[in-house]
Symmetry: C2
Subunit: 330 residues, 2 copies
């Protein structure tokens, strides 16, 4: 009976469209059962065979891939997958995928579009209030029993009236601006280009933006142009009352110079969800109360994980039935 | 020379209006020099004489008092100050002052009005995002070096779409509603009376509000009616996904029942700036990652401390020159 069930299950799995999953992802774990009813997921990390061998073994059957942002999708990997025609990625950022090579090979790429933008924007505000008002540090103060011993806790700073520079005015930047507007912040932004539909003041130059703000919120893509864009010069322009919140990619900030500026008090604090070499975090940050960190955690909540599951199913269904994709980027 | 200066200084101080300051307060420390140029502050806590004796000694000269919320202003204290005609308090809440007795004696009372409401509202949002998205706990996770060892951190919950019940729709409640509206929350409220100018749905009963929400934000005054208003019945109505944020007064919540509900998972979390017996905090909270606490810290920032200084000077000047007071409540 068990054997019969198992063989029936195998048969069903064989009939299901095959999808290569590169890199474990919480959505694959959380919705494993639901996914398994619609797709046959190939998971190299569950196999003892080395990745390249795994890919060559399945090369002929893989037309669609579901790739997390952890693994770089190089032409080397694509060489192993000659039949690949569709990559669904779990992220908004696409810096881990060789898009040029995908285009050349006729591989469609879709990202998660805007489904995480509100979560990221919420976390931007959360990190900012935490740094300004010392929430995490005050929480530790109370939990360590120090309120009774030491009395009043040092005051934080007011959010209203602060000049906030949004770096990258895409969907996330707009969602951050909308929220901070309700707190009475004064918003301006920089972006590759001035956005015709955005009325906040535009600064074409990041250093000029920093000089006109007390707070920078980084929500741009990581590209050759934005790599280490937030460097010491920008931080000095922001000044010693300045706070940087980064929810985009770690390498947009020169992390070594950030450590240096924070240790010297050349800026006032940072809220960081992303780092240059995750999960490695500069140890200098561990002792700084004015640095609040989350482990690349801004992007998702249980609610948006469900949205991601639904989007992945929808896009894989669309790909296998030649229907239009959502959030197609290549 | 030094003696001459000192005697001159004394003479000037004698000519300045006398103000009794009851209870140390950060504004008195931070703006000591500026205050001393305009008023002669009597500070009983700097004297070795017991308070009652101190008060009787100065009874004849004290017409104005600047009282922090820490000390209860009872008829017993007022008996010692027969000439008192004006109390400026540092708080919004007035539960520490016997207002009935003040009215009977013809003592004017002014509070700080709306100058702290934005800071309190900002902190409400900060605490709420912290609990929902686990900011403080995630920060500790990173700072303890656990990201590298343990990998992904558990997901939090989305703020957008959550039904938030505001308890007390005064200035602070309105400021909280305005902010959470920008995050896509669905706002409703309870208050002594339905507010004609507020369009959010009104529930006359706190338990009914709780049953229709996932989040309660407490911003009402502490009165006989609101004392222990948030009890186990209300928490059970809120449900096991529910979060309570309290920025008003600790005793509005039955703290023992809150501890019980949190330990049993009958509600999902709490963000608490105020407690029943400050600075005593229930030790059961210390180990709970879903409880984020700040030490009665929501009310003020460096910026609003400056606003408080300016308001106190303005109101004391107004009192001594018989001009209208700001934020007069009695």
């Amino acid at each position: 009976m068990a054997k019969q069930e198992s063989s029936q299950k195998k048969k069903i799995a064989d009939d299901l469209p095959t999808v290569l999953v590169l890199g474990p992802h919480s959505v694959v774990e959380a919705y494993e059962k639901q996914f398994s009813e619609k797709f046959h997921f190939l998971k190299p990390w569950e196999s003892s065979i080395p990745l390249h061998q795994f890919l060559s073994t399945h090369a002929g059957s893989v037309q669609a891939g579901f790739f997390s942002a952890v693994r770089r999708i190089t032409s080397d990997i694509l060489n192993n997958l000659p039949e690949l025609r569709f990559i669904m990625t779990t992220s908004v950022g696409l810096d881990h995928i060789d898009l040029h090579e995908c285009k050349r090979r006729g591989i469609k790429v879709a990202n998660v579009g805007t489904i995480f933008s509100e979560d990221v924007a919420d976390m931007a505000v959360g990190l900012l209030i935490d740094v300004l008002r010392r929430v995490s540090a005050a929480n530790r103060f109370v939990k360590d029993g120090l309120w009774h011993q030491q009395g009043d806790y040092p005051l934080g700073h007011k959010l209203g009236g602060k000049r906030v520079g949004i770096v990258g005015m895409g969907r996330i930047g707009l969602d951050v601006a909308k929220r901070l507007n309700a707190f009475g912040c004064i918003i301006s932004y920089t972006s590759r280009n001035k956005k015709p539909h955005v009325t906040f003041p535009f600064f074409p130059d990041i250093q000029e933006l920093a000089a006109n703000c007390e707070i920078l919120v980084i929500c741009c893509a990581l590209t050759d142009q934005t790599h280490h864009m937030i460097n010491k010069r920008v931080m000095l322009a922001l000044g010693n009352g300045g706070i940087i919140v980064n929810l985009a990619r770690g390498a947009i900030i020169n992390e070594k110079e950030l450590v240096d500026c924070l240790l010297k008090g050349e800026i006032a604090g940072a809220g960081l969800d992303v780092f240059e070499n995750e999960p490695d975090v500069p140890e200098e940050f561990f002792q700084l109360d004015n640095v609040v960190m989350t482990p690349h955690h801004a992007v998702m909540t249980e609610e948006s994980l469900r949205d991601l599951y639904e989007l992945v199913v929808r896009n894989l269904d669309a790909f296998f039935s030649n229907k239009p994709l959502m959030f197609e980027v290549v």
